[in-house]
């Protein structure tokens, strides 16, 4: 019996399709070649034993701090300097939502002859609808928790650290979606997101613990802008778009009017 060469075995292990069936058949019959393959496998197992040292918890931030001064300066928004390493966590959530959007996109794909024609724009829009919908839902929760909370009697300070932290994470997502909405020509959405961003920034820039008077003032600022209502309306609109697959408002003026009215 002619044995398989080392080169063939390495390629086989690597998934090389050429001559694969013949090698598989040979391996079934030949204990020598099977053993040789396991020896090669053992080398790869050994390779995995070499750990990469952890560069540290704040590695991502350090990379950016070192890199940023070297990048040519371009326009910088008013939010410049606000962003911190929490971005990764926030974007992790975004990525998870985009997964959901893809799954949704798959479920809502229309049947019929036109269905096969993939429209990248529509897919992108579906992704954004789901991602932004989730973002608005989470923003709404933070705003509701703050406006409905009552300071405990006898306590000198009110702890809003959890809401503040969540608002911080939401701000950076919000900014990306606002800019994308602007780019997509969805002015109503961009406008609501801009208002939401200001409120979120207000919360994010507050201390972790505030006095009852400061807390009340923050609640009033949130309520005076009616942002909770606007967020709910726009989120309902998004849910409707998600269900019906309605085109984005730049292609649907009725939708813009309705939201502007709201």
């Amino acid at each position: 019996m002619k044995h398989v060469t080392e080169e063939q075995l390495v390629a086989y292990r690597d998934g090389e399709p050429e001559g694969r069936e013949a090698i598989t058949a040979h391996l079934r019959e030949c204990p020598t070649c099977r053993e040789e393959l396991l020896r090669i496998e053992a080398v790869f197992t050994a390779l995995d034993a070499m750990p990469v040292p952890d560069p540290g918890e704040d590695y991502e931030r350090r990379v950016w701090q070192r890199l940023a001064p070297k990048l040519p300066e371009k326009q910088s928004g008013w939010w410049g300097g606000f962003f911190e390493p929490r971005r990764l966590m926030a974007l992790g959530a975004v990525a998870a939502m985009v997964v959901a959007a893809f799954l949704l996109g798959r479920n809502f794909r229309p049947a019929g002859p036109a269905a096969g024609v993939a429209d990248a724009g529509k897919i992108r829009e579906r992704v954004l609808v789901v991602v932004v919908g989730d973002h608005l839902g989470r923003s709404e929760m933070v705003l509701m928790e703050l406006t409905n909370a009552e300071p405990k009697k006898g306590r000198k300070l009110v702890d809003i650290s959890s809401e503040r932290k969540r608002a911080e994470n939401l701000v950076e997502e919000n900014r990306l979606y606002r800019q994308t909405a602007l780019q997509e020509g969805d002015a109503a959405m961009a406008s609501t997101l801009e208002e939401l961003e200001r409120v979120l920034l207000d919360i994010a820039n507050s201390p972790d613990e505030v006095t009852p008077a400061q807390f009340e003032s923050l609640q009033k600022r949130i309520e005076s802008k009616g942002i909770l209502f606007k967020v709910r309306v726009i989120n309902q609109d998004l849910r409707a778009r998600q269900k019906t697959g309605t085109p984005s408002p730049d292609r649907n003026n009725a939708g813009v009017k309705e939201r502007n009215k709201a």
């Binding site: 396991l38 496998e41 197992t45 050994a46 070499m50 326009q75 990764l88 799954l103 992704v127 800019q179």
Partner: protein, 215 residues
């Protein structure tokens, strides 16, 4: 598997938005990309260069070059894949440069490999008690480092990209500025060299366990 593909697709979409924003002049949007990919890039760079200082330098340079060439990228591929390639290109240049600088101080491969083969650790039985097994794995990692350091920059790049990063042969060939067949040969040469250096040791642990036999 499907979930991983969805996740990667999702990240690519999210990356594409950040790339668009960066190209529109929002430098802060680039930070999203840097913070998302820097850790993985560091792992690649460390495996390629073998030390933290060079790895950090590779990560910095890769992101800087990617920023400068972002318009050329123009959404043709996944940003992660693209910046990986830039990092690998820079790492291999750096390794080659280091190699020529250190050439006079380096020992030839032959004696080094022979030296590795007679290591008594190879005789440590597989079912050794836990502390010895730990020592064994620490020595295996040290041996691994030596064996990787003994590879040429092209071989090391090929094995790191293929084994750890799961890159396609064509992708590795692009970094090595070579063709697919030559790249396959490079991968094979790297495996053979590693095998020569590691097998006596690896056979005493992983292989024996996998095969249920001693070598």
């Amino acid at each position: 598997m499907n979930e991983i593909a969805e996740r990667l697709g999702a990240e690519a979409v999210s990356d594409a938005i950040a790339v668009e924003r960066t190209l529109a002049g929002d430098r802060e949007a680039y930070r999203v990309l840097v913070e998302r990919h820097s850790r993985n890039l560091y792992r690649l760079a460390h495996r390629m260069t073998g030390n933290a200082q060079d790895a950090e330098e590779v990560v910095q340079e890769a992101f800087l070059r990617a920023y400068q060439k972002l318009r050329q990228f123009a959404g043709n591929a996944n940003f992660g894949t693209w910046v990986y390639r830039i990092a690998a290109n820079y790492a291999i240049d750096r390794m080659r440069q280091r190699g020529s600088e250190d050439a006079h101080r380096q020992q030839p491969d032959g004696p080094r490999e022979e030296g590795l083969q007679v290591d008594p650790v190879a005789d440590v039985p597989d079912r050794a008690p836990s502390p010895e097994r730990l020592a064994q794995s620490a020595q295996l990692a040290a041996r691994m480092k030596e064996a990787l350091d003994a590879l040429t920059p092209a071989e090391r790049t090929a094995i790191v990209m293929r084994h750890w990063q799961g890159c396609a042969i064509e992708e590795i060939a692009a970094v090595l500025k070579s063709n697919s067949n030559a790249t396959k040969n490079t991968v094979f040469r790297a495996v053979t060299k590693l095998r020569k250096a590691l097998e006596p040791f690896a056979a005493g642990s992983a292989a024996a366990r996998a095969m249920g036999t001693e070598s």
